[in-house]
Amino acid sequence: MRTLSVLWRGVCILGIVCECFLLGESQDARHLLTPYYGEARVLPTNVEIAVELLRAHRIQTFSASAEMTDDMETFQRLTEGAYPTRMIKDSPYLISLKKDVAGCAVIDVRESVYLLQCQKSQKN
């Protein structure tokens, strides 16, 4: 019985050592203090690019075109992924998958995601 108990404790200690080793080897654990780490793995590609664009231009508020907001997942990931940049309907900045939007001029583009600046009256 005592041998079994010692063996059991040995197995547990071996388990703890293995888990600590795996934890140390894990990329996610190594990047625990890296700002924005992991976004590429959790956000849809278009949303990730949009968030990068908004951060690069230090934009405070934006609106998104219908093709991005109609899809529930894209809408929610864009809203939470871009925060503290807020999605507001009448913002002059527009994230769109199309280049040509009436009354808007392209500020930046990455892959197929456009950041546009619009005159409010024309956009509406």
Binding site: C12, E19, C20, P35, V42, F75, E80, R86
Partner: protein, 401 residues
């Protein structure tokens, strides 16, 4: 024991600190104390050579940290709340109802913990806030591990908690950032702690302060996890008080229990009062008008069958029968546990029956999660009662020798 109890108290104080808008310095100080309490708990395990507990805890930490936040509700609700608290610096910024989909009315025990962690190091990413899940699970898990005394039953608990996580992401509700897994561990810990108090009889007033504080602290965290926790908490208060009355416990003991348990509701009540003044309500309440008109058409074989299958009535009923007929425990203990589980199941059943959402969608996205606390509580109770019976027989056997 003491480390786990301190950790629970600090988690509650951290939430209160967010609710009362205390500064970052205080919250960082609390976080340092939490790490200290965690260290005390771990050292306690080393001192008592409880390597199984350490093995389970380190495995959980590994499972939590090995992946970023992926689950839908974890991203859209819980950790979006934490992200808002991280950037805005205060809890009530959410009362502007930005991102309505994130259910801004939900309580934030774990998100406030995540926000404290990220603000302490001033970094937001997709992995760091998940440490809050680990910090939140530890005290409840330590409570369960302390209540189970044989290595076999503790090992079984470890398998029951960690096994599903290894099956696939859908079953990883304990570590993927959804509150249901944490709620499950807290509900099981609260029920088992209460059953142990009942097993002690009226003598339980003589237990140590840490042991007597365990239940109110578990209850306070449970109520702050999510709205279901609040419902469970209210049922608990009513049911346990009734059991104490029926079993003729001294009035002083009952009064102390009611006072301590009522105090556990204070943090979540502060939040609810602020919600009322900001005119933010729950989505099910907003769309809840005419619940009866939705219930009537759903009283057909197809819909009832869908709810029964999705909410796993058969396994739950089987486990309840096992508890009722075979598990060795006091009648009061069984009555308490079964009435809690039964009432909570009926509430869930009624909720699905009257849901304003599409029934198939609502069942498909939530039923497997909300049932988890019930299943875990019943299974853990079975293990606990069988263990108690085994230890009793062993003691009798030893005595006869």
């Amino acid at each position: 024991m003491v480390g786990g109890c301190w950790l629970m108290a600090l988690i509650v104080v951290n939430y209160v600190a967010w609710l009362l808008n205390f500064g970052d310095v205080f919250r960082t100080f609390l976080l340092i104390l939490m790490v200290g309490a965690l260290a005390v708990a771990v050292l306690g395990c080393v001192r008592t050579k409880d390597f199984l507990a350490l093995c389970i805890l380190s495995f959980l930490l590994f499972l939590i940290v090995r992946s970023p936040l992926l689950a839908w509700d974890a991203r859209s609700i819980w950790f979006f709340h934490a992200k808002r608290m991280f950037y805005d610096g205060w809890l009530y910024a959410r009362l502007d109802d930005y991102g309505h989909f994130s259910h801004n009315d939900y309580p934030d025990m774990v998100p406030s913990l995540a926000a404290s962690i990220t603000r302490a190091v001033n970094v937001w990413n997709e992995v760091l806030p998940k440490l809050a899940i680990f910090l939140a699970i530890v005290p409840a898990l330590m409570t369960l591990l302390r209540l189970l005394r044989t290595e076999v039953s503790r090992f079984l608990l470890g398998v029951i908690l960690i096994g599903p996580i290894l099956i696939g992401p859908r079953h990883a509700i304990l570590v993927n950032g959804l509150m249901d897994g944490i709620l499950g561990v807290y509900m099981a810990a609260l029920m088992l702690s209460s059953c142990r108090l009942l097993a002690h009889g009226p003598e339980y007033a003589k237990l140590s302060l840490a042991e007597r504080l365990t239940c109110p602290l578990l209850l306070a965290i449970l109520c702050g996890l999510k709205n279901e926790g609040l419902v469970i908490g209210l049922f608990y208060l009513v049911t346990f008080t009734t059991v104490l009355f029926l079993n003729r416990y001294p009035h002083l003991v009952i009064a102390r229990f009611v006072a301590a348990s009522t105090a556990a509701f204070v943090p979540v009540m502060i939040w609810k009062i602020r919600l009322v003044s900001a005119h933010i309500s729950n989505d099910l309440v907003e769309q809840g008008g005419g619940a009866l008109t939705r219930v009537m058409p759903r009283l057909n074989v197809h819909d009832l069958e869908s709810i029964i299958v999705a909410t796993q009535l058969l396994p739950i009923a089987t486990l309840m029968m096992v508890v009722g007929f075979w598990a060795r425990a006091k009648l009061a203990t069984k009555w308490f546990l079964l009435s809690m589980v039964g009432m909570y199941y009926l509430i869930l059943f009624g909720l699905y029956l009257s849901t304003p959402l599409d029934l198939g969608f609502h069942l498909g996205t939530s039923a497997h999660r909300v049932i988890y606390p019930l299943m875990l509580t019943l299974v853990v109770f079975c293990i606990w009662s069988w263990e108690a019976e085994y230890l009793r027989k062993k003691a009798l056997g030893d005595a006869s020798v």
